[in-house]
């Protein structure tokens, strides 16, 4: 994929191959400075129309949640592994979400999402919904440079390497292949549907995807000498019914830490030219190697 020149900041016209009809710029994209993020509280508390909602979300949560945002906390947006069959309340604006503990009470998630086991007996009662993973990271580089780096196919392949084999399938089309359990894999093509060079990029899976999904990445200036805040969001929307259940099982391969790990890998790659790894690593197991 070619490195996109920077001159035009106007949204590019959608590709002819796109599956969905063209839309206006997504609400996530705004040419704002990160410093205005503190004003987000009223946007963050409104449930996004049409999204599945958690049963019994109390208004107090929303306040807690907003104060966590204002407190500058990094929010974990993952839903538990089984929450593909679980419920989520998506909050508008930055796409902030919190996870439902169906009946257990709610709270802002300020750490990595927990694993399946702590969902306990409540899990089966909740309604199917999309799984959203969103995280931010701060990187010591200007936004324009980061945007260009993100657009390089070879970088995307490296950055997503912990999760999927991403290969180029045409201009601005990537093929994603996620290894699931029992040798089965999930595959889809995704294409760019919105771009604002230096600031925002959004993609969607094409028709025929095993799991319909979309995502975006946003670059905004950080305060002081911190560089740029990069926010990455994935949304996986498995189909319903019997097929949906099978996909949900397969999607167990999507780690809760997908967004944070991808961002971390991207940061290391652009700041240092490599992604830290201990593969392979000498050890007295695994035939002398381990990691």
């Amino acid at each position: 994929m070619a490195d996109k020149p920077q001159e035009s900041s106007a949204p590019r016209s959608p590709r002819a191959t796109r599956a969905a009809p063209p839309r206006g710029p997504s609400p996530e994209w705004e040419g704002r400075d990160i410093e205005t993020a503190g004003v987000r509280e009223d946007r963050d508390v409104e449930p996004r129309g049409g999204r599945a909602t958690a049963a019994g979300a109390s208004p107090g949560i929303v306040e807690q949640f907003a104060s966590a945002v204002l407190g500058g906390a990094l929010l974990s947006i993952g839903l538990g592994r089984r929450s593909l069959g679980g419920a989520a309340l998506a909050l508008a604006g930055g796409g902030l979400l919190f996870r439902s503990f169906g009946g257990q009470g709610h709270g802002p998630i300020l750490e990595e999402p927990r694993f399946d086991t702590d969902r306990g007996p409540y899990e089966p009662e909740v309604v199917a919904g999309p799984r959203v993973l969103e995280r931010s990271i701060t990187i010591q580089k200007p936004a324009s440079e980061l945007y260009r780096a993100w657009r390089l196919a070879e970088n995307l392949t490296k950055v997503m390497g912990h999760f999927a084999d991403v290969t180029t399938a045409g201009p601005d089309v990537q093929h994603w292949r996620v290894q699931g359990p029992l040798g089965r894999s999930l595959e889809w093509d995704s294409h760019i549907v919105e771009e604002h060079p230096g600031e925002f990029l959004r993609w969607e899976s094409l028709k025929g995807a095993d799991v319909p999904n979309d995502g975006w990445v946003r670059f905004r200036p950080a305060p002081g000498d911190w560089g740029t805040v990069v926010t990455l969001r994935f949304r996986f929307d498995p189909p319903g019914g019997v097929i949906g259940d099978a996909v949900v099982k397969l999607l167990g391969a999507v780690p809760d830490t997908l967004a944070s790990k991808a961002l971390r890998r991207f940061k290391s790659l652009v700041e240092t030219g490599e992604i830290p790894t201990t593969v392979p690593n000498p050890a007295a197991r695994g035939g002398g190697h381990s990691y």
């Binding site: 750490e111 990595e112 701060t138 010591q140 000498d225 911190w226 560089g227 830490t257 944070s260 790990k261 971390r264 940061k267 290391s268 700041e271 240092t272 030219g273 490599e274 992604i275 830290p276 790894t277 201990t278 593969v279 392979p280 690593n281 000498p282 050890a283 007295a284 197991r285 695994g286 035939g287 002398g288 190697h289 381990s290 990691y291």
Partner: protein, 390 residues
């Protein structure tokens, strides 16, 4: 190659493992000429720090000769004789750029293991648990060193390995601890723990202008080193009724201007609090025995500085109210070695600093388990055991 591997609590063995190779473009491979024990290793050998895995190669304080060089390494060359700080640092992130090297953002491939506890991951360390990256350690014939241009420091000609090896960890840690104390000429600095780290903190306090340095421990040979090699006054805490009273009397009733904790989570003690800590730690109800740290907090003069070098977990019974009411400044970190090494190498080259006296015992790599045993039990006056892996 041969390497010293952790196999469980108090179970170290020398085993044959695969040789390391260049993995990332900024890596080099060192042939390890000398490596040494550190008090930090004892914490996981004794089982107080989690995320070790059976078969892990341990060791984080080392030096050696460069034998292989990654494609993007610019300064370091094959054949260079280098010393390497124990933390792996990228040199490019905000933290490295601000001299806060052990907080590097880009060298912990297992960040997700640290995040739940710390909130944010730190730099990786060689041979020091998977939460700190799971990198193979340096008690081995060879070790892979990532980000070589930031992390390898050329050893000036004419210096012996023993003079340089401790610049990997004990010396920069001690120096940083003294640097934290914001020493004014003539200040009195008290240091708990006369191990390698504490002794180097005492020496550094003098280098930074302290008028008096007081070392506290109970092992006669370590206290003697503090007096004879560093020029400190000493207190044997097992032979006095109250360390606090002693320090008060030695400082005209004011207390030391700065107190450095170079003991850590396995502090030994004599009083009721020690018994409480010991019981809880044995039951794994909490991970720390904080006797020395609590003593340092009480002894420090009002408005003084508390510099914490000892490694701790998540301690309970921590007297934050004492710190608050006395207006103490608390400084602490894992060592930012890359910040201090150029200066420290210069001190050694000019003869202002010679840490070689710490190397009380030498072993081949094959005898490393015995070396750790002696170091841990402080047998035969062992302060640091050094290993010769090749």
């Amino acid at each position: 190659m041969r390497a010293l591997c952790w196999n469980g609590i108090n179970d170290l063995r020398v085993e044959t493992v695969a040789d390391p190779g260049i993995v990332n473009p900024h890596d080099v491979i060192l042939r390890v000429t000398m490596s040494t024990t550190c008090g930090s290793d004892l914490h996981f050998i004794d089982g107080y720090i989690p995320t070790m895995r059976e078969g892990d190669v341990i060791g984080h304080e080392f030096m050696g000769e460069v034998v292989d060089v990654g494609r993007d390494v610019k300064k370091v060359k094959k054949g260079d004789r280098v010393v390497v700080p124990s933390f792996i640092c990228c040199g490019n992130c905000w933290y490295c750029q601000h001299d806060l090297y052990s907080l590097c953002d880009n060298t912990n491939p297992k960040a997700e293991l640290q995040e739940p506890l710390l909130g944010y991951p730190t730099a990786g360390i060689y041979g020091y648990t998977h939460a700190f990256g799971g990198y193979a350690g340096a008690h081995a014939q060879y070790v892979r060193v990532p980000h070589a241009d930031t992390d390898c420091f050329l050893v000036p000609e004419g210096l012996k390995d023993e003079q340089v090896i401790f610049l990997s960890d004990a010396v920069p840690t001690g120096y940083m601890g003294a640097d934290f104390c914001n020493i004014h000429p003539g200040d009195t600095v008290a240091v708990w723990g006369c191990g390698g780290v504490g002794l180097m903190a005492m020496k550094s306090a003098f280098l930074l202008g302290a008028g008096r340095v007081i070392g506290i421990d109970r092992f006669p040979e370590r206290l003697r080193m503090a007096r004879e090699k560093v020029g400190a006054e000493t207190i044997d805490y097992s032979r006095v009724d109250s360390v606090l009273d002693m320090l008060k009397e030695l400082t005209g009733g004011r207390g030391p201007d700065a107190c450095i904790d170079a003991v850590g989570m396995e502090a030994h003690g004599t009083g009721a609090e020690y018994a409480y800590d010991r019981a809880k730690q044995a039951l794994h109800l909490h991970s720390d025995r904080g006797e020395a740290l609590r003593q340092a907090i009480r002894a420090c003069r009002k408005g003084g500085t508390l510099s914490i070098l000892g490694v701790y977990g998540v301690m309970d019974k921590f007297p934050i109210g004492v710190i608050m009411n006395k207006g103490l400044t608390v400084r602490t970190a894992q060592q930012h070695g890359q910040k201090y090494l150029p200066l420290l190498l210069e001190h050694v080259a000019k003869g202002q600093l010679d840490p070689s006296f710490l190397a009380t015992h030498r072993f081949s790599l094959e005898d490393a388990p015995r070396g750790y045993e002696m170091f841990k039990k402080k047998q035969d006056g062992c302060v640091r055991a050094v290993f010769l892996p090749n």
